[in-house]
Symmetry: C2
């Protein structure tokens, strides 16, 4: 396709926008995410010599096309809705303005990065809302789909309000707090559970969280009570215990009681094992004495909605607005802006999508973040995105904060955008009816 | 955890097995997959200088532990059920035998690779069964969770019987056929749809498949009839058209008629857009004149079941068999073999899981594939795995080949394994009741 663009000299300026067509039934909002990864990708995107060699010798591509790829550097503009912002269907999360072949080449990877990040950030936000004031930790690398998904998930979850991750490489990359974990195999490898707890505590005295469900939770909790004074005399404090199976609220209550009676009221009770936002809410509602949660699969695979109906679509080419008219997938043409209004209580009240310069009441969400391939000003930090996400979650109307499907947040289309879309459709129809076959 | 193993001198031989605890409700079988990626990972696993430096300066790990990681090379044995084999709950898809810290270090990545590959191969197999004799192509990189997931999916889907992928980097990596695609933006960027078709065909004359649903499918099909003779005179044959939206069987019938009447009976009709195995089966049952399918999101995210309840568990340490007794997650101890029996019609009839040397009737499935960190004999090819998968799908009993949940395939546990498991549980209980606190 790119080769065809180059062959026909179609290198005019193209405008693509990434947006989500509609929310999964189980989501009331999404969080913008993935922009940091996209900006890094755009600055680093290159074809390696081995890749170029393969393309050259595959017999599929012309020499001039491979030469174009060899020189490829992203040199376009990028607009985006900042990470951590609540976003809704049809809102342009990201816009790329660049020569057509350049903007087209990026399509698959931009969708791949943004989709994964928005997906997990939005799932994580539901968990944060379901367990207020609890420490949530991402345990999900193992069942994420490949390694990159696990890293993107660690980033997205932290942005959405998680306290940290067990995915160690996320720490050097983005300075996300990492939380070590202990596996059942560690207990099993020892002949004695108390020996396993002592070994573990002595090797990593900074953060002793003991896994107590390998055999019998109550017995293991009593073992913790037995060994905690031994460790304390060595200057090592047991910080927490973790239960990974069974009736978690009930076990947590019993363990809390065993620990309290054993003089360990400062030891946290953590829970993990097949958790999702619904279970978190149930445990919250039940007042379970659980201080924090490790959350894996449901988070990193966004298990109840593992994909978003999203797209990266051409909205303008060479000064002409474009749109698809495909059944059920028609798009809004042109470069767009989103205007957000707030209620008197500070909660978000409604958005209007307009063409870029068609000012509407409210605050514009789409900002320019890259120009000529370079970041514009400071690249926003993860910490800033995390703060924004916290503020946005706090500003959601109560019905959108609920886990149950709610009445949709109002997103209107400006009159001018509606008229423009109609006009573009009519123009496509007119052109279609010309119907002549152009000669070569 | 590894540091604790090293600190306590727990470097005896450990045996870990990877298995799936139970099937998702929507799966009647799984396909073994991911072994090629695991074997490559095990041969290449190293810590890079920058990673070691971070570990050294993070303040979390001891100098001797980081030195251990600096020298890390996998030197253990690996047993596995070959890729493309139908597998069922509790069957050891992979076994690692290595010093405890070495085998433990691999846990997260092995689960991550095997889980993703088994997940997508098993989903792909359902699609292959639902659309016999159709060409299925993986279109799913964009909505895969990160780039690695997309690559693993291309590999897994091809193994399960897909004809190819649109993920270009899968071709140089594994020699998987790639199928180019044309996007709606290509049509939109041109002022005229027929001009877009001509440009595309002339730039990539080897494989002309035209996307005909950007505006109006029937009109675009008639445009193809108009331009095909023009291209034919230039020596370019239109191979197919693709419909990506709308009522696909109905549109396919109309398009087939337009093409046939227009003298293009050789032009294939392909369909894509939100397809899954259920839609494929409906289209098959309806006799829709569709020759092939592009399948994206449902495949690469395994959308209806995006995770498997799988684990990598310690089954033996230093000659002593181990097991978890956690609620709902108890494991079978020891090094295991799976014995498969076949019915008189050649279909698979039942499996028995036993300890390794406890021979049972049937064919053993678990084979040794690596010794002392090196592949044993020829590394099995993707082509061989693909052949095995085709044979295994053909050997599934009809109820398991159906998309609907079926009566479970019988997987028994040998008497000796059952007695051994009971004995290990009693032994754990005995040790637990000793209850003394070992001194440092």
């Amino acid at each position: 396709m790119m080769q065809a663009y180059l062959d026909s000299g179609m290198t005019g300026t193209a405008v693509f926008e990434f947006f989500v067509r509609k929310l999964p039934a189980q989501r009331n909002f999404l969080l913008s995410a993935g922009l940091a990864q996209v900006m890094r990708f755009l600055q680093e995107a290159r074809f390696e010599p081995a890749e170029l060699e393969w393309l050259r010798t595959s017999g599929r591509f012309s020499e001039s096309f491979v030469d174009y790829l060899a020189d490829f550097r992203f040199a376009g503009d990028v607009h985006a809705i900042p990470e951590g912002t609540a976003v809704f269907p049809n809102e342009p999360v990201l816009r790329v303005t660049a020569p057509l072949p350049m903007a087209q080449l990026l399509e698959t990877r931009l969708i791949n990065l943004l989709h994964t990040s928005v997906l997990v950030a939005s799932k994580a936000a539901r968990m944060v809302l379901a367990a207020p004031d609890k420490r949530l930790v991402d345990f999900g690398l193992r069942r994420a789909h490949g390694s990159e998904a696990g890293l993107l998930a660690a980033h997205a979850a932290y942005m959405a309000g998680f306290a940290g991750t067990a995915t160690v490489p996320a720490a050097p990359l983005w300075d996300i707090p990492i939380m070590g974990t202990m596996a059942h195999s560690f207990v099993e490898a020892h002949e004695d559970e108390s020996r396993a707890f002592l070994d573990f505590a002595r090797s990593r005295p900074q953060e002793v969280v003991l896994l107590i469900d390998t055999y019998d939770v109550r017995r293991a909790a009593r073992t913790v009570v037995d060994i905690a004074p031994v460790l304390e005399r060595e200057g090592i404090t047991v910080k927490g215990v973790r239960i990974d199976s069974g009736d978690l609220p009930q076990l947590a209550r019993e363990v809390r009681e065993i620990l309290d009676k054993g003089g360990l009221p400062h030891v946290s009770v953590l829970a993990s094992g097949g958790l999702d936002e619904w279970k978190l809410r149930d445990f919250t509602d039940a007042g379970a004495p659980i201080d924090g949660y490790g959350i894996g699969t449901a988070l990193t695979t966004s298990e109840d909605a593992p994909a978003l109906d999203c797209a990266y679509k051409l909205q303008e080419y060479d000064g002409r607005m474009t749109r698809k008219l495909s059944s059920g997938k028609a798009t809004w043409p042109g470069r767009k802006q989103v205007w957000r209004t707030y209620g008197s209580d500070g909660s978000i009240a409604g958005d209007v999508i307009s063409l870029e310069d068609d000012d509407q009441p409210g605050t514009p969400l789409v900002e320019k973040v890259m120009e000529d391939g370079r970041p514009l000003g400071e690249v926003p930090t993860l910490a800033a995105a995390r703060e924004r996400a916290a503020a946005q979650l706090a500003a959601l109307p109560p019905r959108l904060r609920a886990l149950e499907p709610a009445e949709a947040y109002p997103v209107a289309v400006s009159d001018l955008l509606q008229r423009t879309a109609d006009e573009v459709a009519r123009e496509i129809d007119r052109r279609g009816h010309r119907g002549e076959v152009p000669a070569k």
